[in-house]
Amino acid sequence: MTKKLPNFMFTNQFGLFCIVIIFVIIFSSITDGFTSRFNIYALSRVVAIDIMIGLAMMVVILTGGLNLALGAIGVCAAMFGGWCMETMGIPVIPSIFLILGMGSFLGYINGVITVKTGVHSFIVTLATMSIYFGLMTMLTEAEAFRRLPASFTDFGSIKLFNKYVSPLLIISVTACLTLFYLFKFTDIGRKLIAAGANPDAAELSGISVNTMFIYCHMLSGFLGAVAAIMLTTRIGAAIPSMAGQLGMDWLLPAFLAPVIGGTLLSGGKLSVFGTMLGAILVTLITNGLYLIDVGEFWIRFFLGIILLIAVILDKTREHFTLKSVIVS
């Protein structure tokens, strides 16, 4: 048994790590307050959610698909949670399980429709995005839930490690480690990847590809619900517009993180830590540009450019990185 460890210097993640460091150096030298305790704490709260959103998209990209309904699922889960806690008076811990269940259920619906109809998940989730968000708006009459239990909202403002880090970041890092374990060290994780890489071959090798795809969509909904809980504790309320119209504010960071991170758009290869680094990079750039005071529109402009570059890299990446790494 000869096991050759890939030289980490040639991995996509190492390259990303270097870019992150470069941006940290640039922003801390040209802006005031980039390394301040306040800013780092604020960054950790934002990046935690971006990582979670990125992971939620990553697990569907793994199948070669997309989840445009991710933001809508997140908002629906958050609003459902608000209703549970505020209107129904359900305690925090059971409510959290209900929220996660709601996210998984909405993801499950996406998965089942995609698999049963054979329509690309782009169209399916475009439709469900609108359906979920529309239903949610009707049921809640677009009223926010602002009187959530204090024990729930306080969590979002806890400060750890000499008040530098939000506990939300710890949840996100734990999610990364768990997903890495799932994909690297379990049979189900390997099957999810194989199904995404070549559905025909996986099916003929005795893997139930449809089930795997449904799992991926469920996992996406679950992670989206986690992100929604984190966002709710951060802003202290469940608001219909918390992720923009139809939840679309989530889509750009959701795609940026995995695509920059090295998850193959055609499916079958993913990078959990790359997604984490990708989310960090996106948050850094956004935050740094805010501090330079370039204005909201320029930030969107730059993020769009970065997504395009990342997609082009996705096509050429194969030539200059180690191809044999399937999970990282």
Binding site: K4, N198, A201
Partner: protein
């Protein structure tokens, strides 16, 4: 001597791992119907693709009307007057007959818009040549298959084609329709001065309309432009299949008194199989022989639950069973299927050797909470990878970097590791070098000897006769006959050919 309108001299063409053509010659006389024959994989399609500009020969010349030409694209071939009438129809089904015929040169009116009257007038002319009495405004999708084919020929004629390639033109026609087609072919050769290259597996058709015959075998000419008068059916069959190559042979065994592991009783499938009866005993190799499209791969897919069986019984070890999916086939009944299309269905090209060879065993070797590591997997599959002498720098090498032969070995490894009782092996040696081929043959025999029951699907006659205990011949999604294989090449192949060509 009659003039040649198409000539190929000493053409070589290699694909990775296989020499498809070596020094192949082909000479087509003006105004003749020329049969191009050979087994599957003999190089016919490669030669046709060279003539039609899809592939370019590595060496050798191509002459059209006695001047050397280079065909870079199919469009070049059309410009020099070469048209193919494919097995798959090339017409746009939702367009009218007239539009299809005139598609490359649509007439315009004064405003630059399409002139439908003119389309009708011009296309009518070509339809009349083909004795087609149909309105040019008819939608192609409303025509019968036979008429579509005639339209396609009419289209080729409208492109001023002087050389027509017909690839299995009668495969979906009734005898009456075929007869009609032949009359028309003879007529256009006489009246329009075209020459025809005719590819068919039906030898009686060759004798009824062709003037000359070229046979390819293993990429070489078994005969070149032989006059049809000098041939008979027996000679032709011998030219097509007779070879000296000594191949691996299984020992003859009598399986009839061993356990019956799989039995199909009057199975009918959703995709068109009818009256399929098949018995597979322990340690037996049953061959399924037939032409491409006879329904062999599709039958395999019925057995592993990809395609639906609508009536009839499947018995495994004497019990009636239903197989819903490859997952049940593998996990419950220990049936595996090695696909003929290893790049699309057999392997995951973007993954490495280790993952590809272990995909069938993950569920089996997992510990609590689904825990599986590369190390555990490696322990399980490395013995097989070594046993099959797979040449790879490491288990972490990407599968797409391996040679075809080694890739094929990996798609076998994954089923060896899975430890199946019944293995369906589909075209195991297509595009594989001679050494690996012999190795895989030996392996298949060893597998059978150690208790695995095998269904072998192959279009390679020597391979089939070398390995199988019994051979079922399939035709049109039915089993047309059974041959008890005594490994005597001449007798068995003649018996198989009888079932195929009648």
């Amino acid at each position: 001597m009659t003039e040649l309108c198409l000539e190929i001299n000493r053409a070589d063409k290699a694909f990775p791992g296989v020499q498809a053509l070596s020094k192949a010659n082909f000479k087509l006389k003006k105004g003749s119907i020329h049969a191009l024959l050979g087994e599957n994989g003999a190089g016919k399609s490669t030669l046709i693709k060279i003539i039609t500009g899809i592939h370019k020969q590595d060496h050798g010349d191509l002459l059209i009307n006695n001047s050397a030409r280079v065909l870079n694209t199919p469009n070049d071939a059309t410009l020099y007057g070469i048209s193919v009438v494919h097995q798959e129809r090339n017409l746009i089904r939702r367009f009218s007959v007239g539009e299809n015929l005139m598609l490359n040169n649509l007439p315009r009116n004064h405003f630059g818009l399409i002139d439908y009257k003119e389309i009708a007038i011009q296309s009518k002319k070509w339809l009349e040549i083909m004795d087609l009495n149909i309105d040019p405004a008819t939608l192609v999708s409303d025509l019968t298959v036979a008429k579509m084919q005639l339209c396609e020929i009419a289209k080729a004629l409208s492109l001023k084609s002087k050389i027509l390639l017909l690839d299995e033109p009668t495969s979906s026609l009734s005898p009456q329709e075929s007869e009609n087609l032949f009359l028309l072919l003879k007529k256009i050769v006489r009246d329009e001065g075209v020459s025809i290259v005719f590819v068919s597996h039906k030898l009686e058709e060759v004798f009824s309309i062709c003037d000359e015959v070229t046979v390819l075998r293993d990429g070489k000419n078994a005969c070149t432009s032989e006059k049809i008068e000098n041939l008979n059916r027996k000679k032709l069959v011998k030219l097509m299949i007779g070879r000296d190559e000594q191949i691996v042979r299984a020992k003859s065994q009598n399986s009839k008194n061993k356990n019956l592991v799989l039995k199909l009783n009057n199975v009918k499938s959703e995709i068109g199989h009818r009256d399929i009866n098949l018995e597979l005993h322990e340690s037996e190799i049953v061959g399924l022989y037939g032409l491409v499209g006879a329904g062999r791969t599709e039958l395999a897919k019925c057995l592993i639950g990809i395609e639906k069986i609508v009536s009839g019984d499947v018995e495994i070890n004497g019990l009636k069973q239903t197989i819903h999916s490859p997952k049940t086939a593998l996990e419950k009944f220990r049936i595996g299927y090695i696909s003929e299309d290893r790049k699309k269905e057999g392997l995951i090209l973007i993954h490495n050797v280790l993952d590809n060879s272990s995909i069938t065993v993950w569920s089996k070797i997992k510990k609590a909470f689904g825990y599986v590591t590369d190390g555990m997997i490696s322990m399980k599959v490395t013995p097989y990878i070594q046993q099959l002498e797979v040449k790879t720098p490491s288990n972490y090498q990407l599968i797409s970097n391996l040679s075809g032969g080694n890739q094929q070995k990996i798609s076998v490894v994954k089923w060896l590791a899975a430890g199946t009782d019944i293995l369906i092996i589909d075209e195991p040696t297509v595009g594989i070098d001679i050494k690996t081929k012999a190795y895989l043959h030996k392996l298949i025999i060893e597998l059978a000897e150690t208790g695995t029951s095998i269904i072998l699907i192959s279009s390679d006659m020597p391979e089939m006769i070398g390995l199988a205990d019994r051979i079922l011949v399939m035709k049109d999604f039915k089993i047309s006959g059974e041959v008890n294989n005594n490994h005597n090449y001449d007798k068995t192949s003649a018996a198989i050919m009888e079932y195929i060509h009648d």
